[in-house]
């Protein structure tokens, strides 16, 4: 409860800071007004879904196929006594929201591998991601009650070079023969190298990314794929964390608004074009 109150105070500060910026004309770039309005609307929606009790409590997320396989993938690795490999891909850095979403899922997966005593291997290309992942996994093991099962060496920086990283992870996959592979984060061209190699050792593979072109490969080569936004919803789905679910709900409300916007603006644009009326333009950002 205290943390929630604290978060609410933070939010108020946040909005006050925004208001202060806007009120001084010298400081405010008017060209950014539409983005500011949209950001404020989005913030209000997130606050509403997070703190409005009944909205928050009743909400459930629809079934997401890839996520139901998470438990199965961890169980399989445990049964086969082989490790589980988790990588956030080469494309992201810690500042990227996708990486944060991937960390969230990692903490859920790590809690289970701790429980089942299944080895979790996490190679990454970014030393900051490595540092954060070590914290995340360590605390998951601690909370699960098995701090001694945590192996910091398994959460390692391999190299920053894209195909150096790909070669290294490929090597790991062929030698460790993980039973399950999680490819969740921002991927670039290395995606298919990893997915095909994973397939050749018979691993069950769960992928998810915000990199749209790599999605095509994951869809073809992996067992389950989380498409774009599903990755963000996944952490809420797995953990059942109300605050994450609330932001998924907020995203849905925004999607409805966007849909209505597109329909209304589309109709107005059509009427404007047909009858030469000046209805158009207001939707240009």
């Amino acid at each position: 409860m205290t943390s929630r109150l604290l978060a609410a105070v933070h939010l108020c500060h946040f909005i006050a800071a925004i208001a202060a910026t806007v009120s001084d004309p010298q400081w405010f770039d008017t060209a950014r007004l539409p983005t500011l309005i949209a950001a404020l609307v989005a913030i209000v929606i997130v606050i509403y879904t997070t703190y409005h009790g009944s909205t928050r409590d009743k909400f459930t997320v629809r079934r997401i196929a890839g996520l139901e396989a998470v438990e199965e993938a961890i169980g399989r690795a445990t049964e086969m006594a082989r490790p589980l490999l988790y990588t956030p891909g080469w494309g992201g850095d810690i500042q990227r929201p996708t990486t944060i979403a991937s960390m969230n899922i990692l903490s859920q997966v790590a809690a289970k591998t701790a429980q089942y005593d299944c080895r979790l291997v996490y190679p990454t290309h970014d030393p900051v991601i490595m540092a954060v992942a070590q914290e995340v996994v360590k605390s998951s093991y601690l909370h699960a009650g098995y701090p001694d099962r945590y192996r910091p060496d398994d959460i390692a920086y391999v190299t920053s070079s894209q195909f150096g990283y790909a070669a290294a992870v490929d090597g790991m996959i062929t030698r460790l023969k993980p039973a399950s592979i999680f490819l969740l984060g921002t991927f670039e061209a290395e995606s298919l190298i990893l997915a095909e190699t994973g397939n050749s050792v018979g691993a069950i593979q769960i992928a998810g990314t915000d990199s749209t072109i790599q999605l095509a490969f994951f869809i073809v080569a992996c067992d389950y794929t989380l498409i774009g936004e599903e990755l963000f919803a996944a952490s809420g789905y797995l953990s059942g964390d109300r605050s994450i679910l609330a932001s998924v709900r907020a995203q849905d409300i925004m999607k409805v608004i966007i849909g209505l916007f597109l329909i209304v603006a589309g109709v107005l644009a059509t009427i404007g074009a047909l009858y030469g009326m000046a209805l158009s333009g207001w939707w240009g950002f």
């Binding site: 946040f14 997130v46 070669a167 095909e196």
Partner: protein
């Protein structure tokens, strides 16, 4: 306590960076520039951390006799580059760049080129007309490939047009919706991070 300091720092930097986006004031720009330099500097220090971990793991493995020749090759490659850079510099024509161009670059290009083979095996294995969506996936991939293949005769005229239409309309629409969705997901995740609801990165704990 230490968590609180981190949360406050996260919040403060988040708000500042959010606010500066909407400002054209020189001070805002300076703040922006400064914080961005912090990223680069912190990253550089973190890199040392990663590299030390790399060395530790490899040295331990060499001592234990696990994969000794390979571990030593990795260490040798790693030590060679800074040494070459220290003695002969890193400009065009230096041994450092020679290593990059003749050892690192060709190997990386080749790892990348492996993709051609994996694309082939994935095409053979993964493209099955199991269901309606899978068939649509298959058909549009075939159309694009054919349209970009040199075929003599009349086929070569309408195929690229059809492929371009698909690419610029239905295909683009789907990508656009994916982008919008990712934008929204990123937005709410970032917002949760700034206000401190999302704190997995701190090592969990409420």
């Amino acid at each position: 306590m230490d968590r609180k300091i981190a949360l406050v720092a996260c919040f403060a930097f988040g708000v500042v960076m959010f606010a500066q986006y909407f400002s054209a004031h020189p001070v805002a720009h300076q703040v922006n520039q400064a914080v961005l330099e912090y990223w680069q500097i912190i990253f550089a220090f973190a890199l040392v951390l990663g590299v030390v971990g790399f060395c530790q793991t490899n040295v331990t493995q060499v001592r234990k006799g696990h994969d000794r020749p390979y571990r030593m090759a990795a260490l040798a490659g790693f030590v060679a580059m800074p040494l070459l850079a220290t003695f002969w510099g890193i400009k065009a024509g230096s041994p450092f760049l020679w290593m990059f161009e003749n050892v690192q670059a060709p190997m990386q290009s080749t790892v990348f080129a492996l993709l051609a083979f994996f694309v082939a095996s994935a095409s053979f294995r993964g493209f099955r007309a199991r269901s309606v969506p899978a068939t649509i996936l298959l058909a549009s991939a075939l159309l694009i490939l054919l349209s970009r293949t040199w075929i003599p005769g009349s086929m070569s005229n309408w195929l690229p047009d059809a492929a371009d239409w698909i690419r610029n309309n239905p295909s683009m629409a789907a990508r656009r919706a994916i982008l919008i969705g990712i934008g929204l997901g990123s937005l709410t995740t970032s917002l949760r991070v700034i206000v401190g609801i999302e704190r997995t990165w701190l090592g969990g704990g409420k």
